[in-house]
Symmetry: C3
């Protein structure tokens, strides 16, 4: 963790907004979650249920929801910053404590920069970074040591490329994009055609590219394949976690969330605001509608209408899937019950057949 700074609650409110209650000159020296709180930390709660925990902690101040009555008074038990969205406000506070973006350091003498490369203002290129021919890097771009940028790549202003990130030739990257370590952008799509005569798999060259729009973030060791012919597209503001696979020709909408180890087959379309939780799989050549949520480990095999909340294999409405999972656990009992029922029905049938036979004594 970075060294501890010392600012006042007022300084913080000026930067991130919110209403101060209690002493605005309270010193804040760090940030913490609800564990490992040290004296001087500022913390946050999203619900009044956690208020007691917060008040008993050694924290110097607490960020809380606007309506928290217990804190909205002159003699509040702890200095507070009240906000509409305490988590968002806290995130902004953490930013002020985070390691600051380093000053631009120019091009390291060991970096290899190809011909016809255009660099914006305040660009940093680290040790052993490789920039191919014809690349265009915007202002304030930071290419960390040991990043690889192939030929004719475009990177917009303020983007960050981490060590061992691999951006292949022709890829187009927007502004404020973050590509984490080990991510591979623009590797060949997985396309073959089997020759019926020889049964060998013939590679289909992948001559398209990848476009990462503004404000995209790509996690560590994630792979995004280039399109066969045009472009695999990741829409503006979409955030992708670690170890995700995005197949060739996918078109991901804006402001999607894709959690770790998700896999998208080729030519999948995600509309805007889709959320795929961890380890989800999505079939190729289908469309997942705007705002769809897919539960962890779900497998989407066909189009999903906008706004749906689905899970399971194959993905069905989440509430229904929960009922199916709950019911599954009762299956062994159910089998026993049905075996028992079958016997009972058999016996009943025999009994009824007996009853249906004309009774000899009534004939007498």
């Amino acid at each position: 963790m970075p060294g501890r700074f010392r600012v006042t609650l007022r300084d913080i409110a000026e930067q991130v907004g919110g209403e101060i209650y209690g002493n605005p000159d309270t010193y804040i020296t760090g940030v913490a979650g609800l564990t490992n709180i040290r004296e001087g930390d500022i913390i946050f709660i999203e619900s009044e249920k956690l208020l007691n925990l917060a008040l008993k902690s050694p924290a110097a101040a607490v960020i809380a929801p606007k309506h928290t009555r217990a804190l909205r008074s002159a003699d509040a038990p702890k200095p507070a910053l009240l906000a509409e969205n305490p988590r968002l406000t806290f995130a902004k506070v953490v930013e002020t404590f985070a390691v600051q973006r380093p000053a631009a350091a120019g091009v390291h003498p060991t970096a290899v920069v190809g011909e016809d490369v255009t660099l914006g203002r305040n660009v940093t290129i680290g040790a052993y970074a490789y920039i191919g021919r014809g690349c265009r890097l915007g202002d304030n771009v930071i290419v960390h040591p040991h990043a690889f940028i192939g030929d004719n790549v475009t990177i917009g202003d303020d983007s960050l490329i981490f060590p061992f990130a691999c951006i292949h030739h022709e890829v187009v990257i927007g502004k404020r994009v973050i590509v984490h370590s080990g991510a591979v952008i623009g590797s060949d799509g997985f396309g073959y055609v089997q020759d019926a005569a020889t049964r060998r798999h013939h590679k289909i060259p992948q001559i398209g590219t990848v476009i990462l729009e503004d404000d995209v973030e790509v996690g560590a060791n994630t792979t995004i394949d280039r399109a066969t012919l045009d472009a695999t597209i990741i829409g503006e503001g979409t955030k992708i976690d670690n170890l995700v696979q995005i197949g060739h020709n996918c078109r991901i909408g804006k402001h999607c969330i894709i959690v770790a180890q998700v896999g998208l087959c080729g030519s999948t379309v995600l509309e805007d605001y889709v959320m795929l939780m961890g380890q989800v799989g999505v079939q190729g050549h289908i469309t997942v509608g705007e705002g769809v949520w897919v539960g962890g480990r779900g497998v989407v095999l066909s189009d999903v209408p906008a706004g749906a909340k689905v899970s399971g294999f194959p993905a069905i409405p989440h509430a229904e899937n929960m009922r199916v999972l709950a019911a599954s656990r009762k299956l062994p009992d159910l089998l026993r019950t049905v075996r028992h029922l079958s016997k009972q029905v058999e016996e009943l049938t025999r009994s009824v057949e007996m009853l249906q036979q004309p009774k000899p004594e009534s004939q007498a």
Copy 2:
């Protein structure tokens, strides 16, 4: 995408085969799928159903199945190249439009090449590539910038090693092999033995190696562990997608297809022509027979006979698994039905018992 060339339909037919109908001097300036077609593009269809779409498009020419009658005439509505396997023919056309294999560029001055390294003709070794002691590289091998090749590695003719590919010591790579960025070949197998006394995990050294036979392709960020004692083997012509894990001592046959995020435990055997779809898992120490297909997300827990088509957890015949999945969705209803049946049977039993009792009035 690369710049647009200009060739004629005849030039293309000469390179990739097929019968021309319509004007052989038609200029072709690009390739496209069935979307984003530009004037001058050549496209392909696999079925006559798409013929209308193709004819209405601005494409300059269309590759279509041999038997497409509407195109087999002098006054066909669009110039055509008819072929046995239109997809394969198209793949070959794309190749002619793909970025050409660059001319050999020799060894970059920043590359580190160890002692006793043997290089074939026309070898390219990029910036900051590392080649360990005793390596042997065949003709036309391209080691991209920032690739790592450990000691005593052998790489056959015409192979491509991409940036950040990591080939560990002693690995043997055949001809025309492609190793994509971030792939790790020859990392230690995951082998430990727990010491009963201390409960600590003692590492079993992994002193075997990995063999990639001719025409293998390994996807980005895929990992293939070295064998404990002998060799993990990937058979000729097998294609492996991104983020796949191949455990130590696996033996993969020839011409297999392994889609993204598949995981194979240690000592798994895949015979030839096996296809594992995305996110499949295969138990260790089992054999998956020749030509087996495993559906996406399936988990194979025991031997699978040659030719089988399986899916599910555990993998069972695919058609049966489809029936099980369809039935699963009916489980909550089934539970209700059975509860209802149980009550009905209970009531029936009571009624029948009543009926079985000697009736007092009949005795009268």
Copy 3:
């Protein structure tokens, strides 16, 4: 594989322990599993069932369980080394045959070493390795070529950092830790807060770190995210396989085993000796108790008590899950049975209603 040495069975027993039977001067020139055994190899068996296989093999000697009577005699059919834990003894033998730890080679002239870096004795730093400012490396640390170590990282004695391993700033690594190629330690956790007004995802800066305690091993292309505020912790002796994702703020206990492609959400707690088999997923903010075993592909959605053996989605006791899976396969038949039962019950009901009606003839 390394070249073949030549030692005697006595040399081996002196190094790894065990009782020799048969000629102690038997030459051993290699090690093998139960396949590909060459003359001169030493092999091991864990069960007497494999004794015949071992005796018929060309192996020069066999490591076997202490109680193996057939080998405990002067005229035993093959020289033997008897041990309490033959697998552990064999692992130690393999070690003696493994490529030895290379002699310290100092700092390669192409390595970039930042200011204020402290190096212990016998440190090796390979070609193009990058060591940030303020790092402290203990004795005998080996940083392989093309490894990246960010600013202010601490690495304990005898640790190994492989090519393309990426250790981000501030990370703390203990003694005898192994970080394999492509592993990313200390990438940003996946934390955002959605701004209700703009619907954009606002990044929560991740200013914590990662701690790998002594004897941890991290597999190839595995990712371990840094904590939001304090530290993601991997406990002493825990072994992590390839392509695993550990989310931010996780706390993993000591001596755990985490097999390939497992994913842990953020803030998950694993107590000591937990075993997660391949492709398992664990929900965030839950605790998996000491010694828990989770079967391959299982998904843990809630706390698991110490010692439990669980599997399935959601994970339930393993024996119960096996029963549920077996029952699932009978579902299509069950549906048919229940449909048939429903008809039978309907008919029975009708028959019983008929029987319950006063019989006209009895009235006669």
